[in-house]
């Protein structure tokens, strides 16, 4: 039983999510040492919202990103299904 390859949109959404999350990591580290920088903080919050929105659209189509209740699951239980991060 061959599994159909992932649609192109999967990779688009995944790259957008990775880009947004990378910016969040950088800003998080930056804000640790620059707590007064309002511009960076505003940017952080907008990107955090963007990341949540991207995750929601991703998970509606491709199943949970995180286990342990940090993501909703599609039916049937999808957490154990491939592709895993190293397989995409």
């Amino acid at each position: 039983m061959t599994r159909e390859a992932l649609p192109e949109e999967f990779y688009q959404l995944m790259e957008d999510l990775q880009a947004v999350d990378f910016v969040l990591i950088e800003l998080n580290l930056y804000l640790d040492t620059h707590p007064e920088d309002l511009e960076a903080l505003k940017q952080f919050n907008t990107f955090a919202q963007q990341s949540q929105a991207l995750r929601r659209t991703f998970e509606e189509r491709f199943g949970p990103l995180l286990g342990g209740g940090k993501s909703f699951s599609t039916f049937p239980w999808a957490w154990k299904e491939p592709p895993w991060p190293w397989q995409i």
Binding site: A19, F22, E26, Y30, E39, F47
Partner: protein
């Protein structure tokens, strides 16, 4: 602010050194070494670009070139 991302030094080579001596060795000097405390409001890459470059801020980017081949 002229700086280079890679600098060289010449190690001491002993007379009885059994291996082929490496005459010039290099080390990384990325921009954050010269920056001190990062000023606010530095110019940024776009998110996609930042993901590829490995940093959000243009001033902190260093190409991380391979030293082999140029300095042998």
């Amino acid at each position: 602010m002229a700086f280079t991302n890679r600098k060289t030094y010449t190690p001491f080579i002993g007379r009885y050194d059994p291996c082929q001596p490496i005459r010039v060795k290099t080390y990384e000097t990325p921009p954050h070494l010269y920056l001190g405390f990062q000023p606010p409001g530095l110019e940024q890459f776009s998110p996609k670009e930042a993901l590829k470059r490995g940093t959000l801020w243009k001033a902190l980017y260093s190409p991380y070139t391979s030293p082999y081949g140029d300095y042998r």
